[in-house]
Symmetry: C2
Subunit: 218 residues, 2 copies
Amino acid sequence: MKFSEAEENYIKSIYHLQLSNNKVSATLLAAAVNTKAASVTDMLKKLQLKKLINYKPYQSFTLTDKGNKVALDIIRKHRLWEFFLVSKLGFKWDEVHAIAEELEHISSEELILRLDNFLDNPSFDPHGDPIPDRNGKIKFIPQKNLSAAPLKKELIVSSIKDQSSEMLELLKHYHIGIGTKMKINKRFDFDGSVEIKIDKLPVAIVSEQMAKNIFCKI
Amino acid sequence: MKFSEAEENYIKSIYHLQLSNNKVSATLLAAAVNTKAASVTDMLKKLQLKKLINYKPYQSFTLTDKGNKVALDIIRKHRLWEFFLVSKLGFKWDEVHAIAEELEHISSEELILRLDNFLDNPSFDPHGDPIPDRNGKIKFIPQKNLSAAPLKKELIVSSIKDQSSEMLELLKHYHIGIGTKMKINKRFDFDGSVEIKIDKLPVAIVSEQMAKNIFCKI
DNA sequence: TAATATATTTAGACGAATCTAATAATTATT
DNA sequence: AATAATTATTAGATTCGTCTAAATATATTA
C-alpha cells in the first residue's frame, strides 16, 4: 500500500514521539509536522481508517503494528539516504537532514535495496542512529549519555542526539566523533558538568547540556 | 523560485514536446502529463501567471526563457539521477525512468552539484541523451538515425530514442550499445530495413522501426 | 463558404491537506 | 467537587490539482 507524503510524515513523527515521550498528544504532533492541532485531528481520522493508528477521540493514540512497519520503512530510507549523502557526497551531518526528508518519500523498494548494498549495508547512520534492515529490524545498542554513564570505564561514543551545526562545531573542537574512546573522570554536582579524558588529549570538561547529547556504548 | 511537482512536470513535458513536435497542443500535453485537456488549460493559466510560458487562449504556446531554464534544470536532475542509478546502483536503463521521475523533483541545488561531481560530471545519460550543465548548457552532438545516416561510413552509436525494455532486449541481441561502431552497407527501399556491419560480427539487418531509434555521430 | 469535425476553454464539483474560529472534552487547581 | 485552564474536535472556508459535461473557437472538407 502506498501513502501520501503527508501521511508518511505524520506516521514517522508519531513513531519518534512515541520513542521519546511515549505519550503522543495532538499538540506535540502538530508541532512535529509543522501544522495546527485541527489538521492533526483530520489526519488522525484518516490514519485510523487505514489502520495505521489506534485512535479514539480525545484520547492519546498509538501506532498499530502496521503503522510501526510503515514508520520503520520511512526511517530506514531516511537514514540510508543520510548515510549516502555523508559518505558518498561529502555532506556534513548538519546539512543532510532536510534533503533526506525529501528523499525518504521516493517509493521504489528496489532503489532502497540497491542503495543499501551500494553502501555496504550500514547498520548506523552518520549520527550513530540505527538503520532498520529491510524487515524493520533494528540493531539495538545499549547506550547511556555522559550524564548517566559510569565513571572510570572505557566508553565508546555511539550516537549524538542533537544534530545541529552548533553541536557539530563543538564536537569537532573536542575531537569527539562516533567511535571516539573516552573515560569519565568526575561528574560535578554543582552544574552537572563532566570531566572526560580522551586518549592523548588533555583532560576536558563538557557541560551538562552537551553531556546529555553524547551517547556511549557501555 | 520553487515550483510544485505538477508544475515541473508540465514544464518538462512542454519542453520535450517543443523539441520533437515543435507545435505543442493542449491535447498532446494532456497525454504527456497523463491528464485531461481541461486540466491542461487550468495549468497553462497558472504557468502563464508565473511567466513560464507564452500563452493566449485557443492558440499554441511556448516556453519563455525562464520556462526553458526551469525545464533544463529538471532534465539535468533527471538525467544525472539516471546516470547514478545505472552506473552506481547497477540498474538497467529500462528500469530507471520511473525512479528518476521522482528523484528529479528533489529540490536541493547543493545535492545536484555534489551528485554531478560524484559522477565525474557526465555529459550524457545512459541512453546517450545530453545532460545539461549547471547553467543549462547542453553538449549538442550532430547525429542521425540509421534511416538517415550515410552509407559506407564509420558510425558511432550515440543515443537510443526508444528506451523500453523491448528495445533494450533487441539491442543486446545485436550487440549494440552507446559507443558501438558500425557501417551501413545497404538500405532497402521495399521496407526501409538497413543492413549493418559491426566489427567482428556477421552482417545483420535491422528493421526500419529499429533503425529510426538508433542515432549515431556522423 | 457552409457544414462538420476537432480542439480548447469554461463552469461547476471533488478530494487532499490545510487553516481559523468556535465548541466540547479532559485535566489541573483551588 | 466546582471552576479554571488546557487540549482536542468540529464547522466551515481555502488552495491545489484534478475531473465531467457543456459551450465555444478553430480547422477541415465537401
